[in-house]
C-alpha cells in the first residue's frame, strides 16, 4: 500500500516536473526543475531496490550533468529571447499530435501486453559470489561487462577531449 | 657470355638517371634542382664511360649481359647486353643527355622539376632501348621514350607546341603499333618452329622465316622504324617537333631519338629479315635518295633557322639509311659512324640555335645577320659545326659520308651519283644560312649587344668540337668498335663478306655466328606452314 502511494506520488512529481521542464520560459528555472525531476527518479530507484543507481543518479546526474547545464546557461549570456525567432515552416503541432498518438499506442501496448501475458522471472545470471546491490553490479561490471566498461571509459575520454577542443576559443 | 665480372654495369647506367629523377621529386629549390639534375646527368655519362674501355672489340659476343626473368608466362625476359654499335650509341645518348641538361640551365625557368625529371626519364628510356636484347623489353622502352618527349614538346615548347607534340606522338605511335604486330608475328613464328615462347632477339637472329612472312614483317618493322628515322614520306613530324621543342628536346631528338630508327633497322630488321631486306633495297634506296635531295632542297627554302636544321636532318638521315641499305660492310660502318656524326653536328647546331633563341626569342633567319661581329666565338663554333655537317674533311662528317657513298657506289654507281649531289646541296643551304646569319652587317639593332658564349655554353660545345675533330682525324677507335657489330649484320644479309674476326677460331666463337655457306634460299628448308595467323 505504501509502495502504491509512493509510486503515484513520485510519478505525479516526475511527470509534473518534466512538463515544467519543457514549458518554463526561463531556462534557469527549467534547469532547477530538471534537478528535482532527477532527484525524484533517484527515489524511484530506491523503491526499485537499485540503491547504487540512485546514488549515481544523484551524484552524476543531479550533481554533475545538471551543474554543467547551469554553467552553460550562465555562459550563454543571452541578450535576447532565445525563442523570439520562429521559422514559419516548423511542424510543432504535427509533432505534438504524433507524440500524443505514439503515447497512446505505447500505453495501449503496455496495458494490453501486461494484462494478457505476465512474464516469468528470467533465470538469474551466473550466481555471483557476492551479496548486495553495489557489490553485484561491481562484480558484473568487472567480469562479464569489462570490455563495454572500458569502452565506456574511452568514450568518456573522447568526449572530454572533444568538449575541450570545441569549447576552447583557440588551440 | 660476358667477358667482365658480374657487375651490372648496364643496369647501373640505365638507372642512374632514374635515381636522379626520383631524387628530384623531393627537391623544390630551383638551383638545387638544377645542380642535382646536372649532377646526375654528368654521373650518368661518367658511369657509361667504362663501356668504352672495357668493351672487347674483338669478341663477336654480346657483352655486359644481364639476364633475369621478367614475365615468364610469355617468355619475356630482362635481357640486356651490348656490342660495339650500341656502346657508341649509349655513349652518345649519355653525353648528349648531359649536354642537353646543362644547356637548359637558364633556358627553362618554369616547372623546373618536371622538366628535369622528364629529361632524365627520357635518357633512361633511350639507354634501355639501346641495351635491350629482348624484343618486348625494347618495345617497352621504345614507347617509354615517347611520353617524356611528348611532354617536353607540349609543355616547354614554343608557339605551335601542342600540335607538334600530338603529331609527334601519334605519328610514332602508329608506326610502333604496326611494329608490334610484326614483333608478334616473329614471336609466334618462332614458337611454331622451335616450340619456345621467347622474345630473345639472339634467337630471332637465327631464324629463317619464309619469304612472304618476311616481307610482311619487314613492312611492319619498316613503318615503325622509318617513321622514327624519319624517311622521306614519313618525315613531316620532324620539322614540327624540332621547331617547337625546347632546345634540349631538339638536341636529344636529333642526336639520339632519330637513331632509334636506324638502330632498329640494324638490330632487328636486317638480321631477322635478311631476304626481305635484300628485296627491299631498291625501294628503300629510292626513298633515301629522294629524301637526301628533297630534304636539302626544302631546307634551302626555309626561313626558320631551326626548321632549316630539321630538314637538313631529314637529308642526313637519308644518307645514313642509304649506307645501311648498301648492305656492304663499308656502307654499314659508315652509316653507323654517320649516326654518331649526325648526333654531334646536328645536335650541336640545335644547341647553337638555342643559344641565340634564348637571347632573342626568335628563330627567323631574317632577324639575324652579322652575328660574327658581335659574337665571334659563337660564329667560330657555328662554322666548325656547319663544316662538320656538310662533311668537310678533317671533321667527322666526312668520314661517314665517304664510307657511305663508297659503300653504295660498289653496289650501284648511279645511286651513288645522285646521293652525292647531297654534298653540293648541303653546302649550298648551310653556307647560305651561315651567310645570312653570321656574315653581313648588323642591321638589326636588337642584335648589337648580344653577349657571346659564356662559360657554361662553352662547356656544352667543347665536347662536341673535340669529338668532331677526333673522329675526323682518327676515327679508328670508333671503327674498331663497330667491326663485330657490322659483321654480325653482314653475316645475315650477305653471303659475300666473311667476318673479319676469325683470328680466335677456337670453335666456340665461330659457332655463335650463323652458318655462312650457301645462299639463304636453301636454308629455308625448315618446315613452315604459314607464319603467324
Amino acid at each position: 500500500m505504501v509502495e502504491t502511494i509512493v509510486f503515484y506520488t513520485l510519478s505525479a512529481l516526475i511527470l509534473g516536473l518534466g512538463v515544467a521542464v519543457i514549458t518554463t520560459p526561463n531556462t534557469v528555472h527549467s534547469v532547477l526543475f530538471l534537478v528535482m525531476n532527477f532527484l525524484c527518479v533517484a527515489v524511484i530507484y530506491v523503491v526499485l531496490e537499485a540503491e547504487f543507481l540512485a546514488v549515481i543518479q544523484v551524484l552524476v546526474y543531479a550533481g554533475g550533468i545538471v551543474v554543467l547545464y547551469l554553467f552553460v546557461v550562465m555562459l550563454v549570456n543571452l541578450k535576447r529571447d532565445p525563442e523570439a525567432h520562429q521559422d514559419p515552416r516548423r511542424l510543432s503541432l504535427v509533432g505534438l499530435a504524433l507524440a500524443g498518438a505514439v503515447l497512446l499506442e505505447l500505453a495501449g501496448i503496455v496495458v494490453y501486453s501486461y494484462s494478457r501475458e505476465p512474464s516469468a522471472p528470467v533465470a538469474a545470471a551466473a550466481a555471483s559470489p557476492v551479496q548486495g546491490n553495489v557489490e553485484q553490479i561491481g562484480w558484473l561490471l568487472y567480469t562479464d561487462y569489462l570490455i563495454p566498461f572500458e569502452v565506456a571509459s574511452v568514450l568518456l575520454l573522447v568526449a572530454m577531449v572533444g568538449a575541450i577542443v570545441l569549447a576552447k576559443r583557440e588551440l | 657470355m660476358s667477358n667482365t665480372a658480374n657487375f651490372p654495369l648496364l643496369s647501373l647506367i640505365m638507372f642512374t638517371p632514374l635515381v636522379g629523377a626520383g631524387v628530384l621529386l623531393f627537391v623544390s629549390k630551383p638551383n638545387a634542382i638544377r645542380w642535382i639534375a646536372n649532377g646526375f646527368a654528368m654521373l650518368g655519362f661518367l658511369v657509361s664511360l667504362p663501356l668504352w674501355f672495357w668493351l672487347d672489340t674483338t669478341s663477336p659476343d654480346w657483352q655486359f649481359v644481364e639476364r633475369h626473368e621478367w614475365i615468364p608466362s610469355i617468355g619475356a625476359e630482362y635481357f640486356i647486353g651490348v656490342d660495339g654499335f650500341s656502346v657508341l650509341l649509349i655513349l652518345l645518348a649519355t653525353l648528349m643527355g648531359a649536354i642537353a641538361v646543362l644547356s637548359s640551365w637558364t633556358a627553362i625557368t618554369e616547372r623546373l622539376k618536371e622538366y628535369y625529371i622528364f629529361l632524365l626519364v627520357l635518357q633512361a628510356g633511350m639507354i634501355g632501348a639501346f641495351v635491350s636484347l629482348d624484343f618486348l623489353l625494347f618495345f617497352v622502352f621504345w614507347e617509354v621514350m615517347l611520353v617524356p618527349m611528348y611532354f617536353l614538346i607540349g609543355i616547354w615548347g614554343s608557339a605551335n607546341r601542342l600540335y607538334s607534340a600530338i603529331k609527334f606522338f601519334l605519328f610514332t605511335l602508329v608506326g610502333s603499333v604496326i611494329m608490334l604486330l610484326g614483333i608478334l608475328a616473329v614471336y609466334f613464328y618462332n614458337h611454331e618452329v622451335t616450340g619456345v615462347y621467347t622474345f630473345d632477339i639472339t634467337r630471332f637472329h637465327e631464324l629463317n622465316m619464309p619469304i612472304e612472312l618476311q616481307t610482311w614483317v619487314f613492312l611492319a618493322f619498316f613503318l615503325g622504324f622509318a617513321v622514327k628515322v624519319p624517311m622521306f614520306p614519313f618525315h613531316t613530324w620532324l620539322p614540327d617537333a624540332h621547331t617547337d621543342a625546347p632546345t634540349a628536346g631538339s638536341v636529344i631528338l636529333a642526336a639520339v631519338l632519330l637513331k632509334m630508327g636506324t638502330y632498329g633497322f640494324i638490330r632487328f630488321s636486317l638480321p631477322i629479315l635478311p631476304e626481305a631486306t635484300r628485296n627491299a633495297v631498291p625501294w628503300v634506296v629510292a626513298l633515301c635518295i629522294i629524301g637526301i635531295i628533297y630534304g636539302a632542297l626544302v631546307a634551302m627554302a626555309q626561313t626558320d633557322w631551326k626548321r632549316l636544321v630539321a630538314y637538313s636532318s631529314v637529308s642526313h638521315m637519308g644518307l645514313v639509311m642509304l649506307g645501311l641499305f648498301a648492305l656492304t660492310p663499308v656502307g654499314i660502318t659508315g652509316s653507323i659512324l654517320q649516326q654518331i656524326n649526325h648526333g654531334i653536328a646536328t645536335g650541336g647546331l640545335f644547341l647553337l640555335v638555342g643559344v641565340v633563341y634564348e637571347r632573342r626569342h626568335t628563330r627567323e633567319i631574317s632577324e639575324y645577320g652579322g652575328l660574327a661581329k658581335v659574337m665571334p666565338a659563337y660564329a667560330a663554333v657555328f662554322l666548325v659545326l656547319t663544316m662538320s655537317s656538310i662533311g668537310l674533311p678533317t671533321l667527322n662528317g666526312f668520314i661517314g659520308e665517304v664510307l657511305i657513298l663508297q659503300g653504295i657506289f660498289v653496289v650501284n654507281k648511279v645511286w651513288a651519283g645522285f646521293a652525292a649531289t647531297g654534298i653540293v646541296l648541303s653546302a649550298a643551304y648551310m653556307l647560305w644560312l651561315y651567310q645570312r646569319t653570321m656574315w653581313g652587317t648588323v642591321d638589326n639593332p636588337k642584335n648589337e649587344h648580344l653577349p657571346d658564349l659564356n662559360l657554361r655554353e662553352w662547356a656544352t660545345f667543347a665536347p662536341l668540337l673535340i669529338l668532331a675533330v677526333w673522329i675526323g682525324l682518327y676515327p679508328k677507335p670508333f671503327l674498331d668498335r663497330l667491326e663485330t657489330s657490322v659483321d654480325r649484320v653482314m653475316a645475315r644479309v650477305s653471303s659475300v663478306y666473311p667476318p673479319r674476326n676469325v683470328l680466335h677460331d677456337d670453335g666456340q666463337d665461330a659457332a655463335e655466328l650463323p652458318a655462312l655457306d650457301g645462299d639463304v634460299s636453301d636454308v629455308i628448308e625448315i618446315p613452315v606452314r604459314g607464319g603467324a595467323r
Binding site: 521542464v21 531556462t27 549515481i56 552524476v60 555562459l75 541578450k79 525567432h85 500505453a107 565506456a152 577542443v165 | -
Partner: protein, 101 residues
C-alpha cells in the same frame, strides 16, 4: 493495488513522450538538450523496473552505461553549443541552418 512493471512502463512512456514533445516544440536548444536527458531517464526507469521484475541485475548495469553516454552527450553537445554561440550569438534552433546546403 499492486504496482506492476506495467505501471513503471507507463510512467516511463509518459516521461519519454514529455521529452519528445520538449525536443519537438522548444526552440531553445539548451532545453532541447534537457529534454533529451528526460528521455534517457525514462529509459533508465524502464530498465531498472524490469531489472527488478526479472530479478536480473544486467538492466542496472545498462543504466550505468546509459548514464555514461548521457554524460558524454551532454559534454560534447554543450561544447558544440558553446562554440556555435560564440559565432552566432544565438541558441535558437531555427537559426541553426548552416548545414542545410
Amino acid at each position: 493495488m499492486e504496482i506492476t512493471p506495467a505501471h513503471y512502463a507507463l510512467l516511463s512512456a509518459a516521461l519519454f513522450i514529455i521529452g519528445v514533445v520538449g525536443v519537438l516544440v522548444r526552440r531553445n536548444i539548451i532545453i532541447i538538450f534537457m529534454s533529451i536527458e528526460l528521455i534517457l531517464n525514462a529509459v533508465n526507469i524502464n530498465l531498472v523496473a524490469n531489472a527488478r521484475h526479472l530479478e536480473n541485475l544486467v538492466g542496472q548495469v545498462f543504466v550505468v552505461f546509459v548514464i555514461a553516454v548521457a554524460a558524454a552527450e551532454a559534454a560534447v553537445g554543450l561544447g558544440i553549443l558553446l562554440a556555435f554561440f560564440r559565432n552566432k550569438e544565438t541558441v535558437n534552433i531555427d537559426e541553426m541552418n548552416v548545414m542545410r546546403w
